[in-house]
């Protein structure tokens, strides 16, 4: 019964009588997968068609309304070997896609304009200009204007809009000088053409637009790809809850469709997907994702449970609550609001450069104008010079300097399993000098494993494994995995206690230490593994105790040791002192604090900030969320609580900790390249501006200088790809 699913939330209606659903499909890599999925789905009765998008790993299925039940599609895909996960495409998604398409359209138009104007300009440079009467030149200039003006009017809109927004907010950004430069270049050129003059800058204006739009487009596409990937992940991980309907029917429902006041069933071994109050049932709850504490907590009717915790032993009926009113969540939300406010004052490198650059350029142009007037040149000539200065300083290279590096570095990080939530995160990562780790779920693996397998006889382990397979308890799963057990024993489960069975005519039990009467055997194991949960195997004449704990990530020791060479490392955990000391000892970290509440973590971060340190915090729990938001920069594992993920600047995938070290290395390099690029732009201007002021800049020189500097900056940015190849 509980396997019936309610998917109505995900079904769209693109046309009358047609229903459609978008699915994320895991494991499509090649043409064969496309053919298998599309053909396999089309053979299903009622399906109108299926289309795979290999780049985004998604399938869109359309069927005749009412001809089939949506879950059938999921089953069909499952049978084909491609587990699929529905997701609701939201409006933000299509807005971003529209923005990307628009930039591509503008880029196409700008490229068309630039190429055709260049066609005319090159022939002028090549000698068409030498015609003694200026008829040919004027004709070419008019033709250039005919192409350039409408193209620029269309393609420059993104810059004009952004500049207008900045000016309305009484600030400036790079788009202000860009818009001004393009407008003046075109205006001056029309003016020169009317006056039968030689110099027109139609080609410079169009080329400038083309280069800048190319940079903008790449930037936008990188952002959308990263976000698409994050949406896919969240669809795959999407929590479901078993909703209990009034008639007593139980249906698996996506969490987005659950309303406050609903009643949900949480089975033993399930992750709790909602915040709410227990109505019925008793169990133990593993709250490590919420508090960092590794010992489980007993719950009973009336107790609060939080999303992200794991129900260990008994089935619970939970009443979903609208506003989370638990003291812990309240505290977390209040701290979050404050922390977010404090950080929004960060100013990006490019904006800081723009603040210096824009007034400097405009003052220089003004000085050139006044200077030439005072020297006795006519106001027309002086104006031409001033506008030339503005054109030549138009921040083509500067506009590319930072975004190009961001795109390349974000791509390099993405290949190493790290997703950036924002571009400025890269800059803040580069500034970090202290790394603060949470313990549970961050340094340790989110899933528990058997810690003392080496101390246990193979026969005992095999027996325990077979017994454990019969249980739904998450700790039992770890024992079954360690034993490699395949065949469950016929066993009886006692909720909250364990399982019992008959082995070779003798009764055996696997379960809590108390129930198995194994306190004596448990004491030394508990002393050796203070952070472990213990379960015991009771045989007639003796007992064996298993320590199940969240082991360190496989490369944690190596990565932390490598980072310790250039960063200060600290561990701040909500777990008990002995548990934290054990992990800190294994990693060789001397500075750690245990038993911390969310506010304590923030206090520690404040102390670090007051000492002038810039902290990177790596954490996953609900209790880390305020600290993640308050820190200079933050990273979460992909297994983190949703609220922590939303606050983190970046997320890392997989079991290994290496992406965190990669992030620090690549971001440091990216920042160096950004600064290099900014200096390259400054050097370019130091050479080009005097030439412009003294009137030596011709359209040919302007075209060469602009494209030359842009290409140089872009090539330099490519170095952020990081020479060390991504390890698979």
């Amino acid at each position: 019964m509980a396997d019936a699913q309610d998917l109505s939330l995900f079904v769209r209606h693109p046309a009358e009588g047609v229903a459609a659903m978008d699915l994320v499909v895991d494991g499509v890599y090649c043409g064969a997968c496309i053919a298998t999925i599309e053909k396999g789905l089309s053979r299903q009765d009622g399906v109108r068609g299926a289309r795979v998008n290999l780049a985004s790993r998604r399938v869109t299925v359309e069927w005749n309304e009412g001809a089939l039940d949506p879950p059938v599609i999921l089953e069909r895909l499952d049978a084909l070997g491609y587990p699929a996960f529905p997701f609701a495409s939201n409006t933000l998604d299509s807005v971003e896609l529209q923005a990307e398409k628009r930039l591509l359209r503008c880029l196409g138009v700008a490229a068309f304009g630039a190429m055709n104007v260049m066609l005319l300009s090159v022939s002028l440079w090549a000698g068409a200009d030498s015609d003694p009467n200026s008829a040919t030149r004027d004709l070419f200039h008019w033709l250039s204007a005919l192409v350039a003006l409408p193209c620029a009017a269309y393609a420059a809109q993104p810059f004009y809009e952004s500049a207008a927004r900045a000016l309305r907010a009484r600030s400036t950004n790079m788009d202000v000088p860009i818009s001004l430069g393009v407008t003046l270049a075109l205006g001056l050129s029309v003016f020169q053409t009317l006056a039968h003059e030689r110099l027109a800058y139609f080609d410079s204006a169009m080329m400038l637009l083309m280069f800048l739009l190319a940079g903008r487009f790449l930037d936008q596409r990188m952002r959308r790809r990263t976000r698409d990937f994050a949406i896919n992940l969240s669809a795959i991980r999407a929590d479901r809850a078993v909703k209990l309907f009034d008639g007593g029917e139980a249906r698996e429902t996506p969490i987005a469709a659950i309303q406050p006041g609903d009643l949900v069933l949480v089975r033993a071994g399930d992750r709790v997907a909602v915040d709410g109050t227990v109505e019925d049932g008793r169990s133990d709850i593993d709250q490590s994702l919420v508090t960092g504490e590794t010992t489980s907590v007993a719950v009973f009717p009336g107790a609060q449970v939080y999303a992200g915790t794991v129900n260990l032993s008994g089935a619970l009926r939970v009443r979903v609550e609208s506003a989370a009113s638990g003291t812990l969540l309240d505290e977390v939300h209040a701290l979050l609001a404050k922390a977010v406010e404090q950080r929004s004052s960060y100013v990006q490198l490019a904006d800081r450069a723009a603040r210096l650059y824009v007034p400097a350029v405009h003052l220089t142009a003004l000085a050139a104008f006044v200077g030439w007037l005072l020297l006795g040149a006519g106001w027309q000539h002086a104006l031409v010079i001033a506008i030339t200065v503005l054109i030549i300083t138009c921040p083509c290279a500067l506009g590319l300097a930072v975004p190009a590096v961001q795109v390349v570095a974000a791509g390099a990080l993405f290949r190493r399993g790290l997703i950036l939530n924002s571009g400025e995160a890269l800059e803040r990562l580069a500034e970090a000098d202290t790394v603060v780790f949470d313990k549970t779920g961050t340094l340790t693996q989110p899933r528990p494993t058997l810690a003392n397998a080496a101390d246990i006889e193979a026969a005992d382990l095999a027996l325990a494994g077979a017994l454990a397979l019969a249980s739904r308890h998450p700790l039992a799963k770890a024992v079954a995995e360690a034993a490699g057990a395949k065949e469950p024993m016929a066993a009886q489960e006692f909720p909250g206690e364990g399982v019992s069975a008959t082995h070779r005519g003798e009764p055996v039990r696997l379960g809590s230490v108390l129930w198995c009467e194994a306190e004596a055997e448990a004491a030394p194991v508990a002393a050796r593994w203070p952070d472990a949960s213990l379960i015991a195997l009771r045989m007639p004449e003796r007992a064996v105790v298993f320590a199940v704990r969240q082991g360190l990530r496989p490369d944690a020791a190596a990565v932390v040791a490598e980072m310790a060479r250039s960063y200060d490392i600290e561990i701040l955990s909500g777990d008990r002192e002995p548990a934290v000391a054990l992990v800190a000892g294994e990693l060789g970290v001397t500075r750690f604090e245990a038993g911390l509440k969310p506010a304590d973590k923030i206090a520690r971060l404040k102390a670090l900030a007051a000492a002038g340190r810039r902290a990177l915090i790596v954490g996953d729990g609900l209790n880390d969320a305020p600290a993640l938001a308050a820190a200079h920069v933050s990273i979460s594992p992909i297994s983190a609580a949703h609220i922590a993920q939303a606050q983190a600047d970046a997320l890392f995938l997989g079991e290994r900790l290496a992406p965190v070290a990669d992030a620090l290395r690549i971001s440091a390099k990216a920042r160096r390249l950004m600064l290099e690029n900014l200096w390259l732009s400054v050097v370019y201007n130091l050479i080009a501006v005097p030439l412009a002021i003294f009137g030596y800049v011709t359209p040919l020189i302007a075209a060469l200088a602009m494209s030359g500097s842009s290409i140089l900056v872009t090539l330099n940015a490519l170095r952020a790809r990081d020479a060390r190849r991504a390890r698979r």
């Binding site: 053919a35 998008n53 290999l54 985004s56 398409k101 196409g108 068309f112 055709n116 005319l120």
Partner: protein
């Protein structure tokens, strides 16, 4: 220079044709799945049975 009378419009028209083709392709979603398009090109599912290699 009379040659310009038809060469320049011809050049512009060709460029415009290219631009129109690009905008058409963009509007019809030709750039939405570049990876998939690469594989679909070599798929021979649309051929009759006896021509498949």
């Amino acid at each position: 220079m009379n040659v310009l009378v038809y060469l320049v419009p011809a050049a512009l028209a060709l460029g415009g044709l290219g631009l129109a083709a690009f905008l058409w392709a963009l509007k019809h979603g030709q750039f939405e799945d570049l990876d998939g398009a690469a594989w679909r090109a070599i798929s021979d599912d649309d051929l009759p049975e006896d021509e498949k290699g």
